[in-house]
Amino acid sequence: MITAAFANQIINLFAAVMLLLAFAMLAQRRVLSLIDLFAMQGLVLTLSTGFVAYTTGQTHLWFSAGITFALKVVLLPWILYRLIRQLDVKWDVEGLINIPTTMLIGIVLVILSFNVALPISQIAGTITKGTLGIALASVLLAFLMMITRSKAVPQVIGFLAMENGLFFAATAATYGMPMVVELGIALDVLVGVVILGVFFFQIRERFDSLDIRHLEKLKEE
């Protein structure tokens, strides 16, 4: 059995890696690397969930870790890889805002997240409570990433990264959601990605590109 303090340090380490990965995704230009980073984030999430399950003895967290692994480390990256290959969209992405600026905004977001999460963490009874701020930060950073990307695939990856952040938050704050809910969320995410995959093809068919800047026809004159 490991001590609580040690466990805490480990979890904080995972959290730090999460945050690092979130920043890395924010800065990454290549789609394939983006998918790798996403898969790594999934892996860290799995490990951290597993670790929490191990230290706290919350059995359902094992399942949660399993689902996360299956879904976010294996299935989704695989689907995305396939999509990229079929769609042949490996090229670099140009951000709408340049990367240093994005990073600066990201730092501000982290500060804000910590600030917001602080009172909540004080309430949470979990050993992971300190990481809540980081979870929120990853959510917001993923959000920022969605804003700055101009291609459809990275945007979806951002969306999935946000989901990761949420899972991390759930683990951090409450040792995960009840099983039914987690399953439901996972199902939604999976179906969502499938639908999006279908969409990619259709969008490409219609617009000859996955650049979402083509999707600006519906607006007010």
């Binding site: 709408l96 917001l140 920022l144 979402i212």
Partner: protein
């Protein structure tokens, strides 16, 4: 008779609705609609009037129907004020419906059955507005009235102008209705009880009372057509079929006056003196504006519509005086001013509907609305012409017809004003009286123009010689209204004794308490101060006329020859050489130039085909409405920036919203 008034009114309103539904069911059957349903509607109108006249002297009755909102079922109440306006509705609608029975023709826009539906829904909703006793019932009926009249206005919806008129009308009506709604929101005083009974029981602090009053003035003013909310009126009234124009002008505008009186005197007790001054100022501006604009119109129905604005102005002036007197607790003077106001409502209902119906007949006979293409119709349409003369003289405020009586009362009310405790007010009142006198005199000008150009002179177009007189139904309707104009003018004492039942509860005093006249002599304060006996004047004029006539007959033995007009010896005479409507409006345009926004196209002496064109527009349209429209447009342009199609931007909105809210929470 043991007839219970309020349920009878509700039943009669339902009967109107039923007529409408029957019309809808047999939408294409002109005979049924015109010869059965409309006369039946007229009969119901008479019944409403009868019930109302009975109820005017009896104490208020109330009833609650299990309709409406769950916490606020429809409350109805019939008191003397409601009864008075119901009487107007019933009496006028009887004439108008009879007229309409003859007026409906085949193949004009909306099918007759549908028109019958709107028409009777319109009548029923007006009746129910007048008896509504809670805010919800009132608003429902009020807006139903607006909606049904909107559909009536746009009966001939193929014409873009008419659609535009209807649109403007409904828009302003709706904004007015929202404002009335907010007024009721103020009036209930935080109790959450929207019955009028509760509002009566509230005593609001002056600030809120003032807000309520201003909202009411705005809301009801929009319906009545006071400045600067009048713009819809000259568009909508001419667009509607004539019986509808008649009803709208004659009755619907009065429901707005009713609302104003109801809110100010019945629901809001604490009157502030400057409310009255405000209303007085607005009323004066409205009256002058209306009459000056009606003088320059070249479309006969627009002319009448502007004249309605003028008359509403007079009514609002009377209302304002009443409020001021009431605020200073000068109750008998308040009773005098209120009597003038109510009397004018009644009069205007009669003569304006008469004139609108007359224009309807002219329109049917000639297919022409432009004054510049009419003329000489007295020869072809003697019935319409002579009856319209009664209306024209009445509206011009000439003794001994009814228009004069209310004007007389109003001027009397002004004359007694210097007794007000406020010096400035005392200075203002004479100026106001002068303006009223000016507007009244101008209305004479307008009516000479109206009547002279349409009915007198020579026909300005060839085909006018084929015009035909009104049919029997139409005649009956016109005669009914004209008879009303004369009766109301001749027996003011009896009418005022009816109105006294209304003024008593509202201002706490009646004219009967101070009057010293007899059945023949109208003397509201004392005979020494002022008295008027229209019957005697009428007799005087009639007797004198006939006496002179007989005398001349006896003295004179020459023959009477017919010959072409002499016209100072000019050889060539064409009907086109008569004054046109524009020409007749010229002096007014000249004298009141700042009122108008004119664009003129004058021919030069060298023009091959000289053309003269003048467009007279309303400054207020350019000062108030277009800027508002521009502002809205500008704002929508700003708002549209929100939706530029870029998903990143949309995401940024969500993001920023989230961050701001988080900061807000921290």
């Amino acid at each position: 008779m043991s007839l219970v008034p309020l349920p009878s009114v509700l039943l009669l309103a339902c009967a109107w609705l039923a007529l409408g539904v029957i019309g809808l069911a047999r939408a294409r059957s002109l005979t049924l609609v015109a010869k059965v349903l409309f006369p039946a509607g007229a009969a119901i109108g008479l019944a409403v009037a009868a019930v109302a006249l009975m109820a005017i002297a009896s104490p208020p009755t109330e009833t609650v129907l299990p309709l409406g909102l769950p916490d606020l079922p429809f409350h109805f109440r019939l008191d003397s004020l409601s009864a008075f306006f119901l009487a107007i509705l019933g009496l006028v609608s009887a004439g108008v419906s009879t007229f309409a029975a003859g007026y409906l023709r085949k193949g004009e826009g909306t099918p007759p059955g549908l028109q019958c539906l709107y028409y009777h829904v319109f009548l029923a909703s007006m009746a129910l507005v007048l008896v509504a006793d809670d805010a919800y019932a009132f608003m429902v009926m009020w807006e139903t009235m607006a909606l049904s009249s909107f559909f009536l206005v746009t009966s001939d919806h193929r014409i873009a102008e008419i659609r535009r008129a209807g649109y403007l009308y409904l828009l302003i009506a709706h904004i007015g209705a929202l404002s009335i709604l907010l007024c009721f929101g103020v009036l209930q005083g935080g109790t959450g009880d929207y019955t009028f009974a509760n509002m009566r029981a509230q005593s609001l602090p002056p600030f809120w009372a003032t807000i309520g009053f201003l909202l009411a003035l705005l809301g009801f003013g929009a319906k009545a057509g006071i400045l600067p909310l009048h713009v819809w009126l000259p568009e909508a009234h001419p667009a509607a079929p004539s019986p509808v124009s008649a009803l709208m002008s004659a009755v619907m505008l009065k429901t707005a006056v009713y609302g104003l009186l109801r809110v100010t005197f019945d629901l809001l007790h604490a009157q502030v003196w400057w409310w009255g001054v405000l209303a007085l100022a607005i009323g004066l501006a409205t009256a002058l504006f209306g009459v000056v604009f009606s003088a320059v119109q070249s479309d006969m129905k627009r002319l009448l519509a502007y004249s309605s604005i003028e008359n509403i102005g007079f009514i609002v002036v009377g209302f304002g005086l009443t409020v001021t007197f009431q605020a200073y607790e000068m109750r008998s003077l308040a009773a005098l001013a209120l009597t003038a106001t109510l009397y004018h409502c009644l009069n205007h209902a009669y003569f304006k509907s008469l004139l609108f119906l007359a224009t309807g007949s002219v329109l049917h006979a000639t297919k022409e609305r432009a004054l510049g293409k009419l003329g000489g119709l007295i020869h072809k349409m003697p019935w319409v012409a002579w009856l319209a003369l009664v209306g024209a003289l009445a509206i011009a405020g000439l003794p001994p017809l009814n228009g004069f009586v209310s004007e007389w009362l109003l001027l009397q009310a002004f004359l007694f004003t210097p007794g007000l405790p406020d010096g400035y007010l005392n200075m203002f009142i004479p100026v106001a009286a002068a303006a009223v006198a000016l507007a009244a005199a101008l209305s004479g000008y307008v009516m000479v123009k109206f009547y002279g150009v349409i009915f007198l002179g020579q026909p300005r177009e060839e085909r006018l010689t084929e015009a035909h007189d009104a049919g029997p139904w139409e005649r009956v309707g016109l005669v009914w209204l004209a008879a009303g104009c004369v009766t109301l003018g001749v027996v003011p004492v009896q009418v005022i004794s009816l109105i006294d039942h209304v003024t008593g509860p509202l201002v706490g005093r009646t004219l009967a308490e101070t009057a010293t006249g007899s059945w023949l002599l109208l003397a509201p304060i004392e005979t020494d101060r002022a008295s008027y006996s229209p019957l005697v004047v009428l007799l005087g004029i009639v007797v004198a006329t006939f006496a002179v006539w007989f005398a001349v007959r006896r003295v004179y033995h020459g023959r009477v020859r017919r010959a072409p007009a002499w016209d100072c010896g000019f050889p060539l005479q064409t009907p086109r050489m008569q004054d046109t409507a524009e020409g007749f409006g010229m002096p007014v345009r000249h004298v009141f130039e700042p009122f108008f926004r004119m664009t003129r196209e004058l021919p030069s002496p060298f023009d091959r085909a000289p053309r003269y064109r003048v467009i007279v527009e309303d400054h207020l349209w350019h000062w108030c409405y277009l800027p508002v429209a521009r502002w809205v447009e500008r704002l929508t342009a700003i708002v549209a920036v929100l939706q530029r199609g870029r998903i990143s931007v949309y995401l940024t909105y969500s993001f920023v919203t989230l961050l701001l809210l988080l900061l807000f929470v921290r």
